[in-house]
């Protein structure tokens, strides 16, 4: 394929309008087709690991189970947002518009879990 290694969104970091980009489309250098393929493979691999550890009773019973699932989920979330939603390449204002409410959302979830006693901080011995 002649252009499979080109950036699907405008070539090798070229300004977007030079590669037939729509004017007014606030895109910068976007991932290449190869990067999209690798992102999909990584997302699939992480999902496979998540489901795999779900079926290991000794790991499910360990303290590592929930943190490892949360970390893998957060990594998948970040990869999709950065590469598929192009937040890594887009304007800072878009990042602020997304991460601001996201932080509020996560803090709200954690606060409510503390409030309703699902998680607690144990002080002292």
């Amino acid at each position: 394929m002649a252009h499979k290694d080109q950036a699907p969104h405008g070539g090798h970091g070229t300004p977007t309008h030079e590669a037939g980009h729509a004017p007014g489309h606030d895109a910068h250098a976007h991932p290449t087709w190869k990067q999209y393929k690798w992102v999909a493979l990584i997302l699939t691999a992480i999902t496979v690991v998540e489901v795999w550890i779900y079926y290991i009773p000794s790991f499910v019973a360990s303290k590592l189970f929930v943190p490892s699932l949360l970390i893998m989920s957060a990594v998948k979330f970040a990869i999709v947002v950065m590469y598929y939603m192009h937040l890594k390449y887009d304007a800072r204002l878009f990042r602020a518009l997304f991460t601001g409410p996201l932080i509020i959302a996560v803090v709200t979830i954690i606060s409510l879990l503390f409030l309703f006693g699902h998680i607690a901080v144990r002080m002292g011995s």
Binding site: P8, H9, V66, Y84, L97, H118
Partner: protein, 226 residues
Amino acid sequence: MASPALDHIEAGPHGHHYTTTGLDSRKIAIWAFIGSECMLFASLISTYLIYKGRSVVGPFPHEACNPPACATALKPILNIPVTSASTFVLLMSSLAMVLALAAVENRNLPKHTTGDRILGSSKLWLWATCILGATFLAFQAYEFTSFVHEGLTIRTNLFGSSFFTLTGFHGAHVTAGVIWLGTLLAIDYKRGLQPSDAINVDIAALYWHFVDVVWIAIFTLVYLIQ
């Protein structure tokens, strides 16, 4: 009647409207909308987590329920293999969506090989995204139907209420996304999506990927964490 000079100020040298931020207002709007959607889903997810493990009667998500707690013996209701498959389908739909956007943006590039033509076919990738989104919805319909047959409805217990509300809202978002993609496909068949339409496809793609990241969170928090 606007003068040519005013037209230039309003439309800009590249044909798009100037904004005080220098960014396209439609893209700012979709990111603001996605930000607000983050908080909507945070409220639904936190409600589910707060009620988790507080159901008095079964069926339960991860635990079996035996008499006398339940009238009959009930297995854990969540079907992880089916949900894993639907998660994979939604992840692949996101890949198809970025390829659809790339195909629209690069429509004017020359296509020399079969591979180029496949990668550059916006119709193909939009169809793929639509079909994968519809497949995810079919998985969800199967899951909801099997739950109802096993005795779990939105009125059965706290788990049922919070689970159906959360996943139902997500399913409604996926449905809206499939309809949105369908309208883009209709435009593509009618007059062909041009690079100047890329912003419209990009906005739809952002919505679609957001629906995907919400599912990433739901899959872990609802299905995998016991």
